[in-house]
């Protein structure tokens, strides 16, 4: 058994894009989603990425007799879209799950920022996602990765309290300083929670730079890549390669050779013998934590700053965020399934990402993922939808009061009854 490890983890997520929702629609039409765009985009990516890459991974796992392992985190929003628009993708993930060499991680069901907004909502979404994974793939997730690898000490504690022993996050330079991300660490305030930190340089070599012909290292081969991994982990334990699953076939087109690269990589690594592939939960069982990591302000894997400003950096995003999480309490009282569903979709981090005004170093990435022309349009559209949602929520809440009054009326003696009607009249 090789002493060193490589941990491959892929994020699968598709946002539930909103339709053009105008002021005139508020209070009249409560269908918020652009079904056409969602379906078209999902089917395209399924054809270009999910289906071919899943098939290839399955083949690689069988070929290498269980020595090749990967991990996935599939957001609930993506799972829902698969079920609606491309159920064959679910089947192919299920086939991967049955090999036993694929770990499925838990996250917030709607790929949300709930970890920053509401503890109760966070808990609710984590449990919802856990249940979905159990039902679809028959495995219970034991490792956690938060939306966009957002992490802080406080979030780590919460995650541990929800029953997870392993969590993934970014090896952010400003947190790590001189320390290497290539070890297992633990949470500063809850040492029992093990942390796996993304090696962003090696991850981005595949996810961002692979097809870039002006990159001096182009073209990237499995051998060349392995030599870098070896160099990076000369004195270290584990290299964590975390990336969007859409890297394969979507961000990096099939023509770039990304599939061939991934086909060659497992064999190259295994025959070399320095590294073995592990899943996140295996990694934290195998390697001892070397130190704790103190993260006071939340970090993430996004942008140069590796913080949460891609979603909460400007006043528009903060306003939308505050407004949506101000509803949590009322919603738990109302407890209506339809409202819960829409509430989940409205929390998807992507909606906040579209409102981002950082159009400098990472503008390219932002633009690529954005269906709106400007952050202002994204904000207006989102707030219009949220206003309609608020109306529905308030109406349901008011209806409950009426119900309660009616119950009271039934119970109450005649005298009281007249009193109640009086107050209603006054209104």
């Amino acid at each position: 058994m090789a002493t060193k490890s490589i941990c491959l983890y892929f994020q699968v997520h598709q946002p539930t894009r909103l339709r053009l929702y105008r002021f005139f629609d508020i209070g009249k039409d409560s269908h918020y989603y652009d079904d056409f765009a969602n379906r078209t985009i999902l089917r395209r990516i399924a054809q270009k990425c999910y289906l071919p890459m899943n098939a290839q991974l399955l083949e690689l796992i069988t070929q290498n007799n269980g020595k090749f392992k990967v991990a996935f985190s599939i957001s609930g929003s993506a799972l829902e879209q698969f079920q609606r628009f491309a159920p064959e993708v679910i089947d192919s993930f299920r086939a991967l799950a049955q090999t036993g060499n694929v770990e499925f991680l838990c996250e917030t069901y709607n790929h949300s920022l709930a970890s920053l907004g509401s503890a109760s909502e966070f808990q609710h979404q984590v449990n919802k996602h856990k249940k979905a994974i159990e039902e679809l793939f028959g495995v219970t997730p034991t490792a956690f990765r938060n939306t966009e690898l957002i992490y802080s000490d406080a979030i780590g504690e919460e995650v541990y309290n929800l029953g997870f022993k392993t969590m993934l996050t970014e090896g952010a330079r400003h947190i790590m300083g001189w320390q290497s991300p290539n070890f297992v660490y633990c949470c500063a305030t809850q040492p029992k929670l093990r942390l796996l930190l993304r090696n962003y340089s090696l991850s981005d070599d595949i996810a961002f730079r692979f097809s870039n012909r002006s990159w001096e290292m182009w073209p990237l081969t499995a051998e060349k890549y392995l030599s870098w991994v070896k160099e990076s982990a000369k004195n270290d334990d584990i290299v964590n390669l975390f990336m969007d699953y859409e890297t394969f076939g979507e961000h990096q087109s099939a023509g770039s050779g990304i599939f061939d690269f991934m086909k060659a990589l497992p064999e190259t690594v295994i025959s070399d013998g320095t590294f073995e592939f592990v899943t996140p939960s295996q990694a934290t069982r195998k390697h001892k934590p070397v130190s704790d990591i103190e993260v006071f302000d939340p970090i993430s894997w996004a942008d140069e700053e590796r913080d949460v400003t891609a979603w909460l950096g400007n006043e528009l995003q903060q306003e939308a965020f505050n407004k949506v999480y101000a509803m949590t309490e009322k919603l738990s009282i109302v407890n209506d399934p339809d409202l819960w569903e829409d509430y989940g979709h409205l929390q998807e981090s992507d909606h906040f990402y579209y409102m981002c005004t950082k159009f400098f170093s990472d503008g390219e990435v932002h633009k690529y993922f954005n269906p709106y022309d400007t952050p202002y349009e994204a904000f207006i559209n989102y707030m219009n939808v949220l206003s309609d949602f608020q109306i529905r929520l308030d109406e349901k809440r008011a209806a409950m009061d009426v119900k309660e009054t009616l119950i009271e009326e039934v119970k109450a003696p005649v005298k009281k009854k007249t009193k109640t009607t009086k107050t209603v009249k006054k209104k």
Partner: protein, 425 residues
């Protein structure tokens, strides 16, 4: 009469006003020839005869081209107005246009010029060409008219050229001034120069409000004796009020117009925040677009009221009527508004209106609520009162409706007719 646009193809309120004026004049027995840069042929010509300047060739100068050029030499303007170009882009555009113009001008005599009639990058060039064509038309039709009437700075040169060539009296009509388009220390000096020249050359200057009259007198230094106010009116004939099913059950307070500095959008936002502190039963809508829109969106977000403060973007046609029909209170907090027709439309729809004292409409509307544009407390007070005291809202809606129905172009143009008579010898 020189105009720039005429319904149905209009970009601003100028065309609508011109239509009201020619119809009103016809009612008062005054015939008009309406010259515009680019007519489409579907204009309503029942009250006037439309002359399309794009159809007229500049080849009938009776004396000599030199003399004509001498008279109208001021029209050689080489720069254009491009509102939002950066310096590099601007210099490129200017350079490009200069080359084109030199070429075009050399062949333009004896040829027709196809005007766009829009407010585009080559606006200044079109203004100059329009003057040349205007002069030609005036000469051609010398015996058909007694007074020259030019609407807004775009047509002043044409008016001046016509006066120079025919010797007939010139009335210029000021619908807006440079000071209503930019702040006092940030006006377009080229436009200002044209405006001032037009006013100086004119025998009478007609302004749409006393507010504008004061600007003409004080800022342009025009002799008060020749500046006359003829308030705008509005033509509602053939307009049915729209019935719209409301989606939101809260009251709706609406701002509708260009979201620019002069319209005072930020005062509206501040007032909205104040009202929202008191009551939640209200939504605010800012309908329209403009260079301040993004800033306003951020402003509302910063105040934390974006769930109650909505932006619709630019509204077209029926959506404008729909917006009025959905509103409970209309607000026009303009910092400087020569007249402001929108509150009249709101009141006609039965929506009580709050307007700034710095608008011309405030001079004629008795039943609109008037506040200083900067007085957000008063604005919030009035909004709150109109939302919560049904008697007040009903009263102002009813009286306002009757009031705007009395503001007819027939009356306004009778006054205009008197102005004409005073200059015709």
């Amino acid at each position: 009469m020189f105009g720039w646009e005429f319904p149905p193809h209009i970009a601003g309120g100028l065309g609508t006003a011109c239509e009201g004026i020619v119809k009103g004049l016809a009612y008062n027995g005054v015939q008009t020839l309406f010259v515009m840069p680019s007519a489409s042929g579907d204009e309503d010509q029942s009250a006037t005869t439309i002359i399309n300047a794009s159809d007229v060739a500049v080849d009938t100068v009776s004396e000599s081209v030199e003399e004509y050029l001498d008279k109208v030499k001021f029209i050689h303007i080489g720069t254009n107005m491009v509102p939002y170009a950066d310096p590099e882009e601007f210099s490129r555009l200017v350079e490009e246009d200069r080359r084109r113009q030199v070429k075009d001008f050399s062949i333009s005599y004896g040829q027709k010029y196809k005007f766009s009639g829009k407010y585009g990058a080559n606006l200044m060039e079109e203004v100059a060409r329009y003057a040349m064509v205007g002069g030609t038309i005036a000469l051609q039709r010398k015996d058909e008219f007694d007074v020259i009437h030019a609407h807004d700075w775009l047509t002043y040169y044409a008016g001046i050229a016509a006066k120079e060539l025919t010797g007939k009296p010139l009335v210029i009509h000021v619908h807006a001034t440079s000071f209503d388009r930019g702040s006092v220390d940030n006006i377009d000096t080229r436009v200002f120069a044209i405006e001032k020249r037009g006013m100086l050359m004119a025998d009478r200057v007609v302004t749409v409000s006393d507010l504008t009259r004061n600007i003409v007198i004080n800022r342009y230094g025009i002799d008060p004796a020749k500046v006359v106010t003829v308030h705008n009116a509005v033509d509602f004939s053939g307009r049915e009020n729209m019935q719209v099913e409301r989606g939101v059950k809260e009251k709706v307070v609406t701002f509708l117009g260009r979201i620019t500095y002069q319209k005072g959008p930020e005062y509206f936002i501040e007032a909205a925040a104040k009202v929202l502190k008191r009551t939640k039963n209200v939504r605010f809508v800012m309908a329209g677009s403009g260079d301040m829109m993004n800033r306003c969106i951020r402003h509302a977000a910063r105040l934390g009221i974006s769930d109650r403060f909505h932006f619709t973007g630019f509204l077209r046609g029926a959506d404008v009527q729909k917006m009025f029909a959905l509103s409970d209170v209309y607000i026009m907090p303009s910092i400087s508004e020569p007249f402001g027709i929108s509150p009249l439309e709101a009141m006609r729809t039965g929506v009580p209106s709050i307007i700034s004292k710095q608008s011309g409409a405030a001079e004629v509307l008795k039943y609109a609520f008037k506040v200083d544009f900067w007085d957000v407390d008063a604005m919030a007070d009035d909004i709150y009162a109109l939302l919560h005291y049904p008697a007040l809202a009903d009263f102002s809606a009813r009286e306002g409706y009757d009031e705007v129905n009395t503001l007819k172009w027939n009356g306004a143009t009778a006054k205009l007719k008197k102005v004409y008579e005073s200059v015709v010898k």
